[in-house]
Structures are given as C-alpha cells and as structure tokens.
C-alpha cells in the first residue's frame, strides 16, 4: 500500500502541489537531502507530462500519484489514463549527429526523468501509461 496516494485534476497549477507533497514524503521516508531536488524535479516532470496528455485526451480524468516509502527505496508512480498516450519516446533517444542541438526532443520531460532517477520504468497500465521511479531511502517511513 502506498504511503501517500493522491489524485488531482489535470491542470498545470496542481503540478507544484504534487511536487511539494512528493518531496515532503520523500524527506520523511529518509531519502537523502542531496537527492530531494532530483525527486522534486522528476515527479514534476512526470506530472507535467501526465497533465499534458490528459488535457489532450481525457481532461475530465484525474492524474494519479502513488508515493511509497516503506522499504529500502522511495518509489513514485505517476499514472495517466490517456488512451492516446503511446509512450513511444521511451527510452529517450540521444540527438543524432549533425542535428540542431537546439531542436529539443519531443519528450524532453522523459529525458530529464531518465537523467535524474537511477531506476525508471515506463509501462502501459490499462488505458494509460505509468512512470515508475525510485530512489534510495532510509527506514523512517510508516
């Protein structure tokens, strides 16, 4: 069972709230202070992406975030229910030689997540997509 579970309407304004909660739970779960910024950024990226695809495909459906800190790792799962999300950009591909470096990859958020979390899994979950990320944690959670 997740330590904290939340759902929010797919609006950009709520992404900051999700970041705040995720960071607080990570801290309580014993994630080292040096990693909290990475947690904050990666969760924000995953939630931003979910909000984007929900607004495009299913604006009435909430984005789901599950935070689990009871074990040796603090795990975050951000799930969207957008049928049209194919997640084809995972894993992120490096820019091809000769490509304009200012030409951002279509899934820049996923590239950032891949660079921040040492364990990332993207999988189909029912109609939508789940991004599962984890970081080492202590044993303070409950």
């Amino acid at each position: 069972m997740p330590t904290v579970e939340m759902t929010f309407t797919p609006l950009p304004a709520h992404v900051r709230t999700a970041r705040l909660v995720a960071t607080a739970v990570a801290r309580r779960s014993g994630v080292p202070e040096a990693l909290l910024d990475e947690v904050r950024l990666a969760v924000g990226e995953a939630c931003s992406r979910a909000v984007e695809v929900h607004q495009e495909h299913c604006p009435a459906e909430p984005v789901r975030v599950a935070l689990t800190g009871a074990g040796e790792r603090f795990e975050v799962v951000v799930t969207n229910t957008a049928v049209g999300d194919d997640g084809m950009a995972w894993p992120p591909q490096p820019a091809a030689d000769g490509q304009d470096p200012a030409a951002l990859p279509a899934e820049l958020g996923l590239a950032v997540i891949a660079g921040l979390a040492d364990d990332v899994q993207v999988s189909r979950n029912g109609d939508g997509l789940s991004i599962r990320m984890s970081w080492p944690s202590g044993t303070r959670a409950g």
């Binding site: 950009p12 992404v15 709230t17 909660v21 607080a24 990226e45 931003s48 200012a102 951002l104």
Partner: protein, 147 residues
C-alpha cells in the same frame, strides 16, 4: 492540500535550506510563484527571473520573451540567479526565445551559478546551446566582446 504534510516539511534539520525555504514560502499566502522584471543595460535587455519556472508559470516567461523580441530587443540576457525551480517546460521556453532572437541575428545568454539548475541544462545537452555566465556583468561583457 497545503496543510497535508506539515510535519514532514518541518522534519528537515540541517538539510538543504533552500528547499525547506521553498516549502515554507509555498505554505504562505504571499507566495509568489514567478516574478519577472526587465531593464536595459548597455543596449542589452536583461530579464531578471525569480521563483519557479514550470508548466504553470512558463507561459508568462514565454509571453515576456515574445513581447521583447516583438519590441525589437534581440540581445537578451536571462538572469536565473533567483530561480528556485526549472523544469523541461521552462527549458523549452528558453530554447524558443533563443530561436526567436537568432531569427534576428540576436542572442540569448543565461546567468546561472546554481548547480541544481545547471544540472538540468547538462542532462539535456543544452549547455552547448546557451552561453551560461556567472553574472550579468560577465554576460554583457561577453556579448559585447563578440560584437
């Protein structure tokens, strides 16, 4: 939701003061998510950014950069020393601004010394795209020397 985890945020002791400060600020009524100011120095438009640049606030920075370019300002320096959070949406806005000024043979340089912000530029390979400087004066001097 703001009061959902007060104990957790207060548990930080001797940790990263900046992050704790951010959480405390968010919890206050007068929290300002993004503050934008700009002024002209030596013919270069300097944009001072304070706060968080994310999917919610980035459109405001995008609008300002577009307004500046439409107003004929093609030499820009974005001062990010007071930016507390930057995500890929913000990166996209900065790259968009860079493309706009380049279309007028202009430039967009950044001022940033915060490691946690610089890390995002490194992860995405954008350190090769932007001129990133330690201070506004250095950014302006570097731009002037290239003219």
């Amino acid at each position: 939701m703001r009061d959902g985890v007060p104990g957790a945020s207060r548990q930080a002791r001797g940790g990263t003061p900046t992050l704790a400060t951010t959480e405390d600020r968010i919890a206050r009524e007068d929290f300002v998510d993004l503050k934008l100011e700009h002024h002209t120095t030596d013919g270069i438009e300097v944009v001072d950014v304070e706060g968080e640049i994310d999917v919610y606030t980035a459109p405001r920075l995008r609008e300002l950069l577009i307004d500046l370019v439409n107003g004929g300002h093609y030499q820009l320096v974005v001062n990010m020393e007071k930016v507390e959070f930057l995500d890929s949406t913000g990166l996209g806005v900065l790259v968009g601004g860079l493309k706009r000024v380049r279309a007028h043979d202009g430039s967009l340089d950044l001022v940033c010394t915060q490691e946690r912000i610089l890390k995002i530029f490194r992860i995405t390979g954008l350190t090769k795209v932007f001129g990133i400087h330690d201070g506004v004066d250095e950014a302006i001097a570097a731009r002037k020397s290239e003219k």
